[in-house]
């Protein structure tokens, strides 16, 4: 299945593109997607992870829902899902 990864801020700087399309197996999770991206872009590690867990430097959503309200790294992905990585916005 195909999912879309949309990147903003420092994640986009590392990935080098706003949108990346990835082919994943049907039972793939968010962790599978991120692992594939990390293999191509090792510098993502410090942006996405802190102490082996998802950090809070990047706001990750699947179809607009923050993954902290889903199953985190174990969140199951479906064909056509849009995974978004953006800087958290606090105002200003």
């Amino acid at each position: 299945m195909q999912v879309v990864f949309r990147a903003y801020g420092p994640v986009r700087d590392v990935v080098g593109a706003k949108t990346v399309e990835r082919e994943l197996p049907p039972d793939a999770t968010l962790e599978d997607l991120l692992s594939g991206l990390l293999a191509d872009h090792p510098d993502l590690e410090v942006l996405l992870y802190a102490d082996g867990e998802l950090g809070d430097a990047v706001s990750l959503t699947v179809d607009g829902v923050n993954v902290s309200q889903l199953d985190g790294l174990e969140t199951a992905l479906s064909a056509g899902d849009e995974v978004r990585a953006a800087p958290p916005i606090h105002g200003g």
Partner: protein
């Protein structure tokens, strides 16, 4: 509880007298900052006061954290009756003023009356030979821009800009969105309190002393937070608040061409990368290792400023149809020097461009700012703000309670839209900062179901922020437990204090005639009226948006009987 320390210093600039009052009970109940100032303003400004009259009062206040050496605490609060909203308004500035303010030994400084001569008011700690308050007539500074006032105070008194709270020509000319500037480029921005000082004939206040009270703040957690602020590689350290510009434009909505569109085709010319390209050094507020400020310059066009921040990028970029960051920098710089809130000024200029069909004309934007500050020609009309001039311009009224809209578009993030409608300050994004829940995917941006309860919690939470006083950008580094530990009180009690402060603001505004009819938006949101009902009910208010007569919210310090 750790609360602000020091007395209330009342300065009557008409009588040229000052007196101090112990306010320990107020501070112990309302912490400091916005909380304490709101309680005092509610009780001491007549409900029927003219915002430009001598009976209006403005309050400068600090919180307990301004006695610390911790990051995210370089903030100060101002409160008063706004000439823009006609209601009670608190506004908040960064920079370096806060430590010089607490060095005077006062927790709150209240300015009332009106002088017959333009004044610089010098506030000291009363220690030694110098009087606590000195009134210096400064008629030669009439019409002076902010940097010229700083230069004068430096030459005469050796005081740099971090000791000053200054109004520019806009404040003197009662531009309803005139701000108060400090530390060169930091603004008590929203609500026009600069025009209130201007109406009092006060050009600047200076703060200096050596009498900072001691507040017993826990050491360990301060060090921990300070270390995190210093070591994080948060993108805000590079791009400040502009880091979200592209994301917000592409995924949600960025007000464009006076709110007629929600996406700007020229966003790449004004986004975070464009601003970062013009940044030439780091800058911070007092004690803050996070250092998210944005000193920028463009040598070719000879502009050096600080910013623009995201809101200014919207107001003078997308909303005026201007796609060159240097033009936005020039607008930002002129607003700082003339003493005007960039959001209200930018939105008002955008309204004018709409009426003239001149979107994208940066030269006209810059010319118009000069006219507004000096009330020349069309500037005299625009100086009244969108709510008062939109009919004459023949454009829609994009304001709530007279306050022009911030950038975070409630048409895309509906909870933030509801927040704009009910906020006692009007269409300001920081009143609840509900936007973060919707942008970050924690709450569905669509619809209002379940949001009133969340909104109330967010509003109360921001009172805690503004009373502590914590920086708004500390939220990833100073969680609820940390706030409770620092202030030595249960966080639930802090939220209850926040609830009382929102109610005091509402009660004051009710007494000036505000009700449900003022909790309005210039656009429809699904389920809006039901959400309003729910919001009022959960607040314990009447269905017409008023605080019940005799209502006391949560014990001492709440709204007094009518």
């Amino acid at each position: 509880m750790n609360h602000a320390k020091g007395d209330l210093l009342t300065i009557d600039v008409g009588a040229r007298e000052a007196e101090t009052t112990e306010i320990d009970d107020v501070l112990a109940t309302f912490v400091g900052g916005r909380g304490a100032a709101t309680k005092l303003a509610h009780d001491r400004i007549p409900f029927d006061a003219d915002p430009f009259g001598p009976e209006n009062r403005v309050y400068f206040s600090s919180g307990p954290l301004q006695h610390s050496q911790m990051s995210f605490t370089g903030r100060m609060n101002m409160t008063g009756l706004s000439p823009l909203t006609d209601g009670l308004c608190s506004t908040n500035a960064g920079g370096y003023l806060s430590r010089n303010f607490v060095d005077t030994g006062h927790s709150v400084v209240e300015v009332t009356g009106a002088s017959d001569e333009l004044l610089a008011v010098h506030v000291r700690d009363g220690d030694g030979d110098a009087p606590t308050v000195e009134f210096e007539e400064v008629p030669e500074l009439a019409g002076a821009e902010v940097p010229d006032v700083t230069e004068a105070m430096r030459e005469r008194h050796g005081l740099e800009s971090e000791h000053l709270a200054t109004v520019g020509p806009a404040g003197e000319n009662r531009v309803r969105f005139a701000c108060v500037m400090t530390s060169d480029s930091r603004a008590f921005g929203r609500g026009g309190l600069g025009a209130v000082l201007g109406a009092k004939n006060v050009k600047c206040l200076t703060f200096e002393g050596d009498s900072r009270a001691s507040v017993d703040l826990p050491e360990g957690i301060q060090s921990e937070i300070h270390r995190e602020a210093a070591t994080t590689d948060d993108i805000m350290k590079r791009q400040g608040t502009t880091n979200g510009t592209q994301f917000i434009n592409d995924e949600f909505g960025l007000p464009t061409r006076y709110f007629s569109e929600m996406s700007f085709e020229g966003v790449e010319g004004i986004n975070g990368d464009a601003v970062e390209e013009k940044k030439y050094k780091k800058a911070a507020c007092s004690m803050c290792a996070f250092a998210c400020k944005l000193p920028t310059r463009d040598e070719e066009r000879g502009v050096e400023t600080e910013g623009p921040e995201f809101e200014t990028v919207m107001a003078f970029g997308s909303n005026t149809g201007v796609d060159d960051v240097v033009d936005v920098m020039i607008s930002n710089d002129r607003c700082d020097d003339l003493g005007m809130d960039t959001i209200s000024a930018g939105d008002t200029v955008a309204a004018y461009l709409a009426s003239e069909d001149e979107f994208g004309n940066a030269e006209l934007v810059h010319e118009t700012l000069e006219k507004i500050a000096r009330r020349e020609g069309i500037g005299d009309t625009l100086a009244e703000g969108v709510a008062r001039c939109h009919d004459e311009l023949g454009v829609e009224n994009w304001s709530v309670k007279g306050l022009e809209f911030a950038a975070h578009d409630g048409r895309a993030i509906h909870g933030q839209g509801l927040s704009y409608a009910v906020a006692n300050r009007g269409a300001d994004h920081m009143y609840s900062a509900f936007l973060s829940l919707e942008y970050n995917g924690e709450v569905d941006p669509e619809g209002l179901e379940g949001k009133p309860e969340l909104l109330i919690e967010r509003e109360n939470r921001q009172v805690v922020r503004d009373s502590g006083i914590f920086c708004a950008f500390s939220s990833s580094y100073v969680d609820d437990d940390a706030k409770a530990e620092l202030l030595d009180v249960d966080f639930a009690d802090l939220l209850a204090m926040g609830d009382r402060v929102v109610e005091l603001e509402r009660h004051f505004n009710n007494r000036r005639g505000f009700d449900r009819g003022d909790d309005r938006l210039p656009y429809d949101l699904p389920g809006f009226e039901s959400a309003l009902d729910e919001y009022y009910e959960l607040r314990g208010w009447n269905s017409d948006g008023t605080v019940p007569a005799g209502h006391v919210a949560g014990g001492s310090g709440g709204v007094a009987d009518d």
